[in-house]
């Protein structure tokens, strides 16, 4: 299988770096699967799970909340605003995130800012839902 270089970086550290076969990311306008040779692209991300399929194993999952993905011929990079290993995520963490998003929303005055924060909050709530159902299954 053709592989490509992939990096998942959060402001605090590099979460993943290496050659992968495919990456599935939650872009704002729908999920994107990136394979080797994908057309150059920049997309913003929403809250969700990034699935990284490394060469042999079954894939690693990461939680990201906002950020963007840059795909070019050389390498693919996700700049996540927040990123964690999915194992480290639980309901309490998500509730905390939702709470921070809510406080931010009530605290902001700017209309554009409000719209953006509201979107982020909706995305987070959606993800919480998905996360809960995944755990139940």
């Amino acid at each position: 299988m053709a592989t490509f270089k992939f990096e998942l970086v959060s402001p605090e550290r590099i979460l993943f770096s290496g050659d992968v076969v495919s990456v599935i990311v939650p872009a704002v306008e729908g999920e994107i699967t990136v394979l080797a040779g994908h057309a150059p692209m920049v997309a913003t991300l929403k809250a969700g799970i990034v699935l990284v399929q490394a060469t042999s194993d079954n894939g690693k999952e990461f939680f990201v909340n906002g950020g963007l993905i840059e795909i070019n011929a050389g390498a693919t990079t996700i700049l996540a605003e927040q990123g964690r290993f999915l194992e480290d995520v639980n309901a309490a963490v998500l509730d905390q995130e939702i709470l921070t998003a809510e406080t931010k929303l009530t605290g902001s005055q700017d209309e554009d800012e409000k719209r953006r924060l509201h979107e982020a909050l909706v995305q987070l709530r959606e993800f919480k839902h998905v996360f809960d159902s995944r755990k139940a299954a």
Binding site: E7, V9, S10, P11, E12, R13, I14, A27, V28, E29, A39, P40, M41, V42, A43, T44, L68, E70, N72, A73, G74, T77, L79, E81, Q82, D110, D112, R116
Partner: protein, 289 residues
């Protein structure tokens, strides 16, 4: 001539001081390793962000560019964000950042510009307050946070952005100390609004697809870029502070060691002199009989 007791006390007190500086040095060394790792871990994100931003910004033309890149069109009011440490005893670390900021503020004032200052960290405030009491609009205290992270940087960035949106200033400059090595920290001034776009960045040949539009991405990216720049400044500063403290405490320990050596020699010499004197007294007393 100090008495033997005086000398003994003096040596004891220098020894106690040496113990303190030695301990501070070791604590700084341990903290430095953590701070340095954090600063280095944050670098790839900031670098990546810069290249993406450079690619995006090269696409927008002068007048249609967002204000965070294009500026407000004037440069009357300058905001200086001065990041320093919360604690002293770290050599020239705080004063060299403050000096850089002070020189800049004086130069701007000489040109008839208005200067506003936000201090991040108490030490810089203490130094700048003497001259710019009226210009300092805010002091951001990070002492309560043990591990300064993205959340703090975001708070500061939001604060700056809100002031920018209110039209409180036209140009913002960030002052911090770049961590080069344990013995060398470079005080740096970086313009953050309007954003400094690295020119001559290697242009990728590829034409990007954007999802959603180019301008929407740029709009979300610019405030985030500000946060990242602030975060980088704080983390670099933390590493620099520990490095500066380590080398300052190292030389303090060495100075104390030298002082102990000198005082001990003096003590031994005067003790010897006293014994000789007593001996002479006894001998001459016996001879007189």
């Amino acid at each position: 001539m100090p008495s033997l007791k005086d000398l003994r006390n003096r040596i004891a007190s220098v020894k106690a001081t040496q113990k303190i500086t030695k301990a501070m040095q070791m604590v700084a060394a341990a903290k430095l390793r953590r701070a340095q790792a954090a600063a280095e871990a944050a670098r790839p994100y900031a670098e990546r962000m810069e290249t993406v931003l450079a690619n995006l910004a090269s696409g927008v033309s002068g007048s249609s560019a967002p204000r965070l890149i294009g500026g407000t069109g004037s440069d009357k009011v300058h905001l200086l964000v001065v990041c320093t440490a919360e604690r002293g005893l770290c050599g020239a670390f705080n004063s060299s950042i403050a000096r850089l900021a002070r020189d800049k503020a004086n130069a701007l004032k000489a040109q008839g510009k208005t200067v506003k200052i936000i201090c991040v960290g108490k030490k810089g405030y203490d130094i700048l307050r003497r001259q710019f009491e009226k210009d300092i609009i805010e002091l951001i205290d990070l002492r309560a946070f043990k591990q300064v992270g993205f959340v703090n940087a975001e708070g500061i960035a939001q604060n700056i952005l809100a002031r920018f949106a209110n039209g409180e200033f036209d140009v913002a400059t960030l002052f911090f100390s770049k961590f080069k090595s344990v013995i060398s920290q470079i005080p740096t001034a970086q313009r953050i609004i309007p954003a400094e776009i690295p020119t001559g960045a290697p242009k990728t040949e590829a034409v990007y697809e954007y999802e959603p539009g180019e301008s929407e991405i740029l709009e979300t990216l610019l405030p985030r870029n500000l946060t990242v720049q602030v975060l980088r400044a704080i983390l670099e500063n933390a590493a620099s502070e520990q490095g500066a403290r380590m080398s300052a405490m190292d030389s303090a320990t060495r100075n104390a060691g030298e002082m102990i050596k000198k005082q001990t020699q003096l003590y031994n010499r005067s003790r010897q002199a006293m014994i000789t004197k007593e001996l002479i007294e006894i001998i001459s007393g016996a001879e007189a009989l």
